[in-house]
Symmetry: C2
Subunit: 345 residues, 2 copies
């Protein structure tokens, strides 16, 4: 009989049409094969770090028309993760290898199609392993692609970043500074604003929740207007930004986290600015730009190693706290990129 | 003493912040020099056709932050026009020349800077002179630039055009058909829909005012979804289109005529579709693409002469009716491009 071991898992319960709650997930003790079946080509992973990202909320809706399929009720949540190979029947992977890819939210995973995993090349940098789901992973690549390909910032231009201390925003701001731009971030607390200004090198930052009038706040921060808006939130900030954009401005629409909880999202009233200001507003999904991944990894590794880019993580320990960590994204409880470390070893 | 003659003029009265009304303009009998002063370099025009375009409403607001300056209260309205040179002290123009350019709404105009006028080359085509403020003028160029540069339609793609029988829309649809697209127009009356389907070669068209549910109407007309939306109206049609767009769709934001009357425009709720559908939404102003004008004139003239593109005008006679013709744009009273013919000769 096949040997198994206990396997703590985070299960997705049922589709929702509101902001995620901890009760939409539950912890289950399942089982996993203790070794990889011979001849299967599979690998067995010990999962180390799991990524909490806002896009995952889209997989909690019963909506099949998106770029990524919804979660299956009764099965584990999944997302980007970093794992260690502990057994392998696949010549591409050996025990001791570290990999990233789509990883189920559980302690151990038997992966049937390991060709979708990506090996982390050691020696690439001295960065923590968890950065491979952050700075060097999907959030970093999203920031890179969105800023460089959609926003095309030029030296001396002004850049607004919303959710600026988040997984993506903090990298956008630092990359824009490296391009010679004037960068202002909006964030949800004084602590985050301090981080942006003192650690991450933003020229300025403000707590959007403390502003009575976002249009006036942006006018104060951008007396010359905004050339580039990297939009992670949608909603009122987008509306206020439209009124403050300069002619030929660019808006990268990366996400609309402000809308994730809302069945009928608030209306955007200032789109008429697109016409006379000739604004380009583009939604994007990083996976469409896979051809830029090697160049991204090379540049970002160099920036990191030269100390030109920093990364702030908010690490929660244990699968017991995974649901709370994920749900916290939508009220901005995380300070920096939200990561779950699966084991304490 | 300088000889003058009577000159009927349409005067802009005062800035507004609502839809234009006839009472915002008034007819005045002014005077104009009967001949061009020697040594002045000026030309004297007899104005033949004046163009009524929705963008002119923007010049009725006291708003100096746009791509074009506002009208001056107490002075004539101005817009694109076709005129005949009747006297000239400028070596570039001779009596009998026909020109287009920014023309005051009056019978005769003494032009101090004739270098901004463009001579109409005779023999270019057998088209009516008025087409030089329509098919071969700003509206035609807007359609051309917006469709080709912003929407990049590919053979077999689906295209939605709003205000489809208007000055710009009718050309967009015909150009898209020439690119091998499936084209559906939305318009405000059965008469316009008949025109689109029977004369202008649209694959289909519908009366948006008769639809209870625009989202369902678009789903019915585009069971495979919309690849390209050429947006002349904004508002509810844009919101409905966003829900029906395909992945990698393109939206050219040409104008938002539905918003021209509104101080606080209605909100657009479905922008979150930009992200997961990777939609590119771009506002544009044709004058930014001046380098494409020669190529546009060549292609459009060829299309017209080969009978591949038709143009429908709605001509109102006399400056007495100019204000009513202009105001009618905003309730869709015109069928085809709204032109004012200044003199009955």
């Amino acid at each position: 009989m096949e040997q198994t071991r206990e396997n703590k898992q985070v299960i997705f319960k049922a589709y929702i049409d509101r902001a995620p709650a901890e009760t939409d997930m539950e912890l289950r003790i399942g089982t996993v094969a203790a070794t990889v079946p011979k001849g299967s080509g599979m690998v067995l992973l010990k999962n180390l770090y799991l990524s909490c990202d806002p896009y995952m909320r889209g997989r909690m809706r019963d909506f099949r028309d998106s770029y990524i399929h919804p979660f299956t009720p009764g099965e584990t949540i999944e997302g980007f993760g970093v794992s260690e190979v502990i057994d392998s029947d696949n010549t591409d992977f050996r025990p001791g290898d570290f990999v990233t890819g789509m990883i189920p939210w559980e302690e151990y995973s038997l992966i049937r199609q390991p060709d979708k995993l990506k090996k982390i090349e050691h020696g690439r940098s001295a960065a923590p392993l968890s950065y491979h789901i952050g700075l060097f992973g999907m959030p970093g690549f999203t920031a890179y692609v969105g800023l460089k390909e959609i926003c095309c910032p030029k030296e001396g231009e002004t850049v607004l970043v919303s959710a600026a201390s988040g997984a993506v925003g903090q990298i956008v701001g630092q990359l824009a500074k490296l391009e010679g731009c004037y960068v202002v971030g909006s964030a949800g607390s004084k602590e985050k604003v301090k981080l942006l200004k003192e650690k991450l090198g933003f020229d300025d930052a403000f707590v959007y929740k403390e502003e009575q009038d976002l249009v006036a706040a942006l006018k104060r921060h951008f007396p010359r207007g905004i050339d580039v808006y990297f939009d992670n939130v949608g909603g009122e900030m987008l509306d206020a930004a439209l009124l403050n954009m300069n002619a030929h401005g660019r808006i990268a629409v990366c996400g609309m986290v402000s809308l994730h909880g809302v069945g009928n999202p608030i209306g955007i009233h200032n789109l008429y600015n697109l016409v006379f200001k000739r604004i380009n507003m583009k939604g994007f999904v990083q996976s469409d730009y896979a051809h830029l991944m090697p160049q991204f990894l090379e540049e970002m590794t160099a920036y990191y190693e030269q100390g030109k880019i920093k990364y702030v993580e908010d690490v929660r320990h244990g699968l017991e706290n995974a649901a709370a960590a994920f749900v916290g994204l939508f009220s901005g409880r995380n300070v920096g990129k939200q990561v779950i470390s699966v084991s304490s070893t």
